[in-house]
């Protein structure tokens, strides 16, 4: 089964659990709306790629770890879109969750998706109980305080913040979770795999800045030009477009070099380089080819 199919099945099973007997139907529908139809699924694909490189002896656990990370990512998007943050009207090419279901269900859907991530990990870990602790620590610390994605979002409410630290927390930490959790699910030591995720997170952040500057809304599925409009820091504003593209390529090379020794290192290196190339908007990808 290919990685995308494994991820979609695992996410569908997770949402089916939330839709179980006794559940409030509109909240259940809001959760499904937040997770499907699929986005790029870049974090869970990364998680499965690393698990594969480490031998993937517990594929069900790796799938649940990847799905948990994607649920947490979706939860952060739903809450980031709320009126008190970005007040985004669209997401993934359709109305944002609070526009479609109202603000109360958007708050609750985010909360329920966060909890669901831990519910599915606890279920999957019955096949390898000793791996649950490292997996939960890796993923929990990458999402919560003091330096996970929620912390990163928290810096937007501070009078001053360090840009690199802000981006490392808000974006990088969930990429580091994806690589480290993939390793932990396969029984490898997760710590050695964080650097790869860190570099990919930085690359993703630069690519996001590039897409925000040069894509169109139809391709991106959400409004463009938000960085300039909200006076947010951006690699394109800072380095110019060619400089930002060069930075992205440098980070992709750093990422490929950061893969720890493992049975599938060579294949993983190829995946990493391909994935980072796919982050560019279509127009630039065609130019680059």
């Amino acid at each position: 089964m290919d990685a995308v199919t494994r991820i979609e099945r695992s996410l569908d099973a997770a949402i089916a659990l939330a839709e179980g007997p006794g559940s409030p139907p509109r909240l259940a529908a809001a959760m499904r709306y937040a997770v499907f139809p699929r986005g790029a699924r870049i974090r869970p694909r990364l998680c499965l790629a690393v698990a594969g490189a480490c031998g993937d002896d517990r594929p069900g656990l790796a799938e649940s770890a990847g799905a948990a990370i994607e649920l947490l990512h979706c939860a952060s998007l739903v809450h980031d879109d709320l009126p008190c943050f970005d007040d985004a009207a669209t997401r993934r090419g359709k109305p944002s969750l609070h526009r479609a279901f109202g603000e109360p269900l958007a708050v609750l859907a985010g909360d329920a998706l966060i909890v669901l991530a831990f519910q599915i990990m606890a279920r999957a870990a019955t096949e390898a109980p000793g791996r649950l602790g490292p997996l939960m620590l890796t993923i929990g610390d990458s999402v919560g305080m003091p330096v996970g994605i929620v912390a990163g979002q928290g810096w937007e409410s501070e009078p001053r913040c360090d840009l690199a630290e802000y981006q490392r927390q808000k974006t990088g930490s969930l990429f580091a979770a994806a690589t480290a959790a993939g390793a932990a699910a396969a029984g490898a030591e997760p710590g050695a795999w964080r650097l790869l995720g860190d570099r990919l997170g930085e690359a993703y952040q630069v690519a996001d800045d590039i897409r925000d500057a040069v894509s169109d809304e139809a391709e991106l599925g959400k409004p463009i030009g938000q960085d300039a409009a909200h006076h947010r820091p951006s690699a394109v504003l800072q380095l110019g477009l060619p400089g930002a593209i060069a930075r992205l390529e440098g980070l992709a090379a750093d990422a490929a070099a950061a893969i720890p020794p493992c049975p599938g290192a060579e294949a993983l290196r190829a995946v990493i380089l391909l994935e980072t190339r796919r982050l560019l908007p279509r127009s630039l990808a065609v130019q680059a080819a």
Copy 2:
């Protein structure tokens, strides 16, 4: 060390983790504000009482389970108070979190408290890794979908709902988590302990309705008369005040009878009856004595 001291220390250690190096200071302060000064801490006290009745051979794990449940309870209060739900101005006798810190930090503090609950359980479980899975399942399912407290809150966005089921999810499930998690932390089978928590959750809900009807705001630390104002179902509106008090006493007796066989059953029975008596507002408790 008495139970209250154990709980406060464990909660302080949890918040100190969130305040660690790299954390955004205002979000960290908002989390501390949500958790201290203490409320009744009824759920973690219940968790420790059950762990004690089951032998409490891993006191650190029981304390973390109790603290995790309290963090999740505090998170639910912060989100319930948001403008899109109750828009409460006060909580525990001080301004609600969103009034004190603004709405973005209230959303994020709730999210971060949810994640923190799982972060501290993962850390505590290193002393008994095999207990982490049952503990996470018990607590995760009691908070998330399909039938945890978030699901209960979700029923408020439905056109129709079953009152008993709504209350069981919104209030009862975290009491059932407290009793079942106390057992799981001490290595006992959690399932047998849910009925006790269910009954106590019902008792607490009835007591809450009584307090909302007859307390004053100074005693309660939050506005009173909210059930009537928001047309919410209430045992007092349904049964009258004497009927509601009789119902509370019946539920306390049912709870005491639901304690499974265990070394400390007798002592636990006494705690349960004392705690349910403490749920009544001072004026009624004096009358009853």
